[in-house]
Symmetry: C2
Subunit: 231 residues, 2 copies
DNA sequence: TCGAGCACCGGATCATTGATCCGGTGAATG
DNA sequence: CATTCACCGGATCAATGATCCGGTGCTCGA
């Protein structure tokens, strides 16, 4: 023992830190999904005892919160390069969406308050861009929430029905629809599980609608909402 | 024991059934939230042993799936009464949203495949209405998903920040924003936690934008998407 | 040089929870 | 009247989140 260079460093592991825990948690979540994330499993991957984690982190929920905020760092905040607010916002939303799909487990975690620095920074950019574009209340909140809700919903939905895996579930679901086609004629003929249409163009289309609505409210100077003519 | 009229019925409980389990599960979820739902607690409320539940239901996830589908029955499917497709869809979406907010726990469960009869019936109505309105691909999927994603996202978001309870968390969050106002100027000044604007009008506004976009794609007969002029 | 303090680690342990085993119980049925 | 079968539940198991408490080695001041 007089010569041993610190058992932990022997294993080649750098000293434990909150960052390393979070990083490994994201990796574990990516690899095996949310329900397989255990403090013990996480500790094992880190080469430490499970109880050690609790020195760096108060609860498991902390790990989840940190992991959720960590992946938002992958969303690059567009530089306001004169492309116009629509381009900027589109870039942000698309980046956000890409992250949600790259880490499908995240969609299910969005039900917890997101107050991490990375999340806030992106929200700040969204609000700032909308403000600079001349969007005012009540369109401002509607726009910010509408866009966020739209990405979140899309991510959640698409993460639920991953195109790659789960072929078995998809097939069973499709079959179920077909065998009840008199009860669900429209779904059986044009439903989502039938038309394997790519989600991307659908998402882009809906995004355009939202942006059009926002823009209409801006160009019409104040007064009654521009695009909200009918209904 | 010769006279006892069946111990269970003595307690005044009707015989256990899958429906009764689901009904009680919804009540428990409404009252205490998703994380407090335990097979034991559920059984206790039903006046039975916890293991008995497993005769009627295979796993706990089954209970959740059933509960989720059960609340969708509360969304009334509009009668096509000549009000026009916008009115019909608006009614459906608003009803859906109302249910999500009435049962906040449901938002967090939306990450699981929804294939229950009640959910499917509502999706069927949505697709049928859009089809009847003349919406065609790729606008059809975009419209159906856009609307669904929008409600889901909104419900999720709003369930995360309930206006009634959690005052403590809201206050802390607001304070956090204020103390970092130079980093988040726009959020601190116009952010959601600051402007207590009612979610309803914001939601309605965004819904109108989506409907406008859908409608524009219909009136323009085919070809390039109507409302998607710019960007 | 040395010993006290401190940041950091982990084995043992506890309560809770989802799920199963296996033995009941009573009403209907032939 | 015996048998069957739908239905029930105590005991129990494994996994998990979390805590207690005792190490271990580095650092820093005297």
């Amino acid at each position: 023992m007089w010569l041993r260079p610190s058992a932990r460093r022997e294993r080649g592991a750098p000293p434990l830190s909150r960052d390393r825990i979070v990083q490994e948690a994201v990796a574990l979540l990516d690899a095996e999904g949310a329900d397989r994330l255990t403090m013990r499993r996480l500790a094992e991957r880190l080469g430490t005892g499970s109880t050690t984690l609790y020195w760096h982190v108060k609860t498991k929920d902390d790990v989840l919160d940190l992991a959720l905020d960590a992946i938002f760092a992958e969303v690059e905040i567009p530089q306001k390069s004169g492309e116009g607010w629509r381009a900027d916002i589109t870039a942000l939303i698309n980046g956000w969406r890409a992250v949600l799909l790259r880490h499908p487990w995240s969609a299910a975690l969005l039900s917890r308050p997101m107050l991490g620095p990375n999340v806030l920074a992106r929200s700040e950019f969204l609000y700032a861009t909308l403000l600079a574009a001349g969007v005012v209340e009540p369109h401002l909140t509607a726009a910010a929430y509408g866009l966020s809700n739209y990405v979140i919903g899309s991510g959640l939905m698409q993460a639920t029905w991953p195109a790659d895996a789960e072929q078995e579930v998809r097939r069973a679901a499709r079959e179920h629809l077909q065998s009840n086609r008199e009860r669900y004629p429209a779904l059986a003929a044009h439903g989502p599980l039938v038309a394997e249409g790519d989600w991307d163009t659908g998402f882009a289309l809906g995004l355009t609608w939202l942006l059009d609505g926002i823009q209409a409210g801006v160009t019409d100077a104040g007064g009654t909402a521009g695009g909200a003519a009918r209904a």
